[in-house]
C-alpha cells in the first residue's frame, strides 16, 4: 500500500535538518544555488508544453504578486480556488531543488497537466530552450534596482537557504558586481528587455503595477487572451493588494518553517513599496550606485522609477 503523499508543508518540515545556507556555483557565468547547479542538466532539459506560461523575475521583484494575479485571472477572480494550495505548489518554481523530501520544481511539474504556470528566476539565456521553441508565453516583472536590492537584502537575511548576506554596504557591492544568486540584476532585466519583442515577452514594471494595478492587470489579461469583467478586475486588484496578500497564508509563505524562512528576522512580504530604498541607502551609497547604474544601463532605456 502506497504511503499518502506528503503535504508540501510536511515535506519541508522533514527536510529541516538538511537545510543550510547553500553556496553559489557558477552555471554558464551565472551564480546559482549549489542545489540548482548540481541538478542543472535536468533543469536545462525541461520541455514545456506550448500551453504552459512562464513567469520570470529577478528575485524579489514582485514574483509572488505576479503569480497571484495570473492565477486569479485564470480562475475568474475566484479567491477560494486560488487558495487551493500554497503559491509554490500552484505555480512551481522551475529550477528550485531542495533537500528531500521537499519536491523539486521539476517533480511538482511532472505531476501537473498542461496548461501549467511556471515560475523562474533564471536569466533569459538560461531559460530552457523548449520555452522558446514551443513559443510559450512569458511574463517578466522587473523592479527598480534600488528597491529590488533592498528587498533582496532582507530576503537573504531571513531565507536560511541563501548565502549569508553580510553587512548592507558589502551587499550593495555584490549586487553591482552580479555576485548574488541568479547573477546580475542589470544583465537580467536587460536580457529580457532586449528579447521582449522578438520572443513575445510581456514586460511589466513593478512601479507601474503599484501605481495602476487595474491597468496592468488588464495588460496581462489581454496578453493571455483572457476576458474577465470589470468587477473581476477590481476584485483581483483588491485580492492582490499588499496588505491582503501579506495576510494570505497561501501567498505569504508563512507555512515555511522557521528553520528555512525565519520571518522573525524579516517578513517574506516586508513592505512592498516603491521608494523604500531612501530608508536604506546613504547619500554616499546612492551616488556610488547611480554611477554604476548609469554605466551598466546606458545601452537600454527601461523606464524604471525610483518613486511614484
Amino acid at each position: 500500500m502506497e504511503q499518502e503523499p506528503l503535504s508540501y508543508e510536511e515535506a519541508i518540515t522533514r527536510a529541516a535538518d538538511a537545510i543550510q545556507r547553500f553556496p553559489l556555483k557558477d552555471v554558464q557565468g551565472v551564480p546559482l544555488m549549489s542545489t540548482i547547479a548540481d541538478n542543472w542538466k535536468s533543469i536545462s532539459e525541461f520541455c514545456p508544453d506550448p500551453s504552459d506560461l512562464l513567469i520570470s523575475t529577478y528575485p524579489k521583484a514582485g514574483t509572488t504578486w505576479t503569480q497571484e494575479i495570473v492565477d486569479l485571472l485564470l480562475n475568474n477572480g475566484d479567491a477560494q480556488v486560488c487558495k487551493r494550495a500554497p503559491t509554490a505548489v500552484r505555480i512551481p518554481f522551475l529550477e528550485i531543488c531542495a533537500p528531500p523530501p521537499i519536491p523539486s520544481g521539476l517533480e511538482l511539474l511532472k505531476q501537473m497537466k498542461p496548461p501549467r504556470v511556471i515560475k523562474t528566476h533564471l536569466p533569459i539565456q538560461l531559460v530552457p530552450v523548449g520555452f522558446w521553441q514551443n513559443k510559450c508565453k512569458v511574463i517578466y516583472m522587473a523592479r527598480n534596482a534600488k528597491d529590488n536590492l533592498v528587498s533582496y537584502f532582507h530576503f537573504d537575511r531571513m531565507n536560511l537557504t541563501q548565502p549569508e548576506p553580510g553587512p548592507w554596504d558589502g551587499y550593495i557591492h555584490k549586487f553591482m558586481k552580479g555576485q548574488l544568486g541568479w547573477g546580475s540584476w542589470y544583465d537580467h532585466v536587460k536580457g529580457y528587455w532586449k528579447e521582449s519583442k522578438e520572443r513575445n515577452i510581456l514586460y511589466i514594471l513593478y512601479e507601474d503595477m503599484k501605481e495602476n494595478p487595474s491597468r496592468e492587470i488588464k495588460r496581462i489579461m489581454h496578453y493571455l487572451d483572457l476576458s474577465v469583467s470589470e468587477d473581476v478586475i477590481n476584485k483581483i486588484v483588491q485580492l492582490t493588494s499588499f496588505h491582503v496578500m501579506k495576510d494570505n497564508p497561501m501567498a505569504n509563505y508563512s507555512y515555511i518553517p522557521k528553520a528555512v524562512f525565519d520571518q522573525s528576522i524579516s517578513a517574506f512580504m516586508r513592505k512592498g513599496e516603491v521608494g523604500d530604498w531612501v530608508n536604506h541607502f546613504t547619500p554616499a551609497q546612492s551616488k556610488m550606485f547611480d554611477e554604476d547604474y548609469t554605466n551598466q544601463m546606458k545601452d537600454v532605456d527601461i523606464p524604471f522609477r525610483l518613486n511614484i
Binding site: W277, V278, N279, H280, F281, T282, P283, A284, Q285, S286, K287
Partner: protein, 301 residues
Amino acid sequence: MEIPDFSSMKLDSRPELIDFEGVSMTRYFTDNWEKVKNFQARPDDILIATYPKAGTTWVSYILDLLYFGNESPERQTSQPIYMRVPFLEMCFQGLPLGTELADTLPTSPRPIKTHLPVQLVPKSFWEQNSKVVYVARNAKDNAVSYFHFDRMNMGQPEPGDWNTFLQKFMDGRNVFGPWYDHVNGYWKKKQTYSNILYMFYEDMVEDTGREVARLCSFLGLSTSATERERITKGVQFDVMKQNKMTNYSTLPVMDFKISPFMRKGKVGDWRNHFTVAQNEQFDEVYKQKMKNTTVKFRTEI
C-alpha cells in the same frame, strides 16, 4: 613629571539627561555648578568653546602649541591635552574638578575648554573681556561624530541606535542642548562682544594654515610663518589620532574598542551614515531651526 593615573576614575551607570536652566545636561557637568558659575576668569584667559565633537581637541592642541610648544616642549609628551586645557564644567569622581585644574594651571594665558552654551558661560569671562575661540561644525557631521562619541563614552547617556540618536539630535535632546541654539548663541554674542573668534571646522580642514594664521592674528601672536607651518603639520588629524597625549586614550571612561575618540575628522562623512530619507527629513528640520540666523555651514568642501 608622570602621566596622571586616573584608574580610580569611577562611574555609576550612564547618566540620565536632566533639565538644567533650560538646557539638557548630565550631573557630570552640573554637580560642581556653584564653582563653575563663580569661576573667576582672568583678562588673559582664552576660552575654547564648542558644541561637543566640533573640533575642541584640535583647537586646544593648536593653542597649546602656539603658546607653549617652544617654551615648554616637555608638556607635549608628559601631559595629556585634557590636563593642559582643562574642561571647565567637568565633575567626574576620581578626577580633579575642571575648575580646580583651571585654577591651578601654572601658565599665562590659561587655555580653558567648555561645551557650555553661551548663556551658561560664567559671567566673569565676559566681564574680564577674555578671549573666546568658538569652533562650529556642520550639524550633520557633528551629529555623526557625537553619536560615535556617545557610543564609546560611558560618561554620556546611552545614544541608542543611529536612527534614535538622530531624532534626539534634531529635537535638541543631547547633552549641552540643541546644536542649533549652541552655534547661534555664540554667533549672536559675536555681534556685541568683539573678543570672540568664530571658526568653522570645515574651514580648518580645508586650509589649516590659513586658519592658524587667523587664530594668531586674533590672539595677537607674532608667530613666524615657519613656526605656524610646523604646528600645522603637527596638528594633522592622523598625527593627533596616534598621539597618546591628544587621543584621550589615557582616560578609562572611554571604551576605545567601540570607537576611537578621534574617529575620522572629515567633512562629509555624514553621507556614509544618514539614509537618503533621514537626510531629507534633517534638511527640513534644519531649515526651520536655522531660518532666523545668518550663520552658514558647509556640509562638504
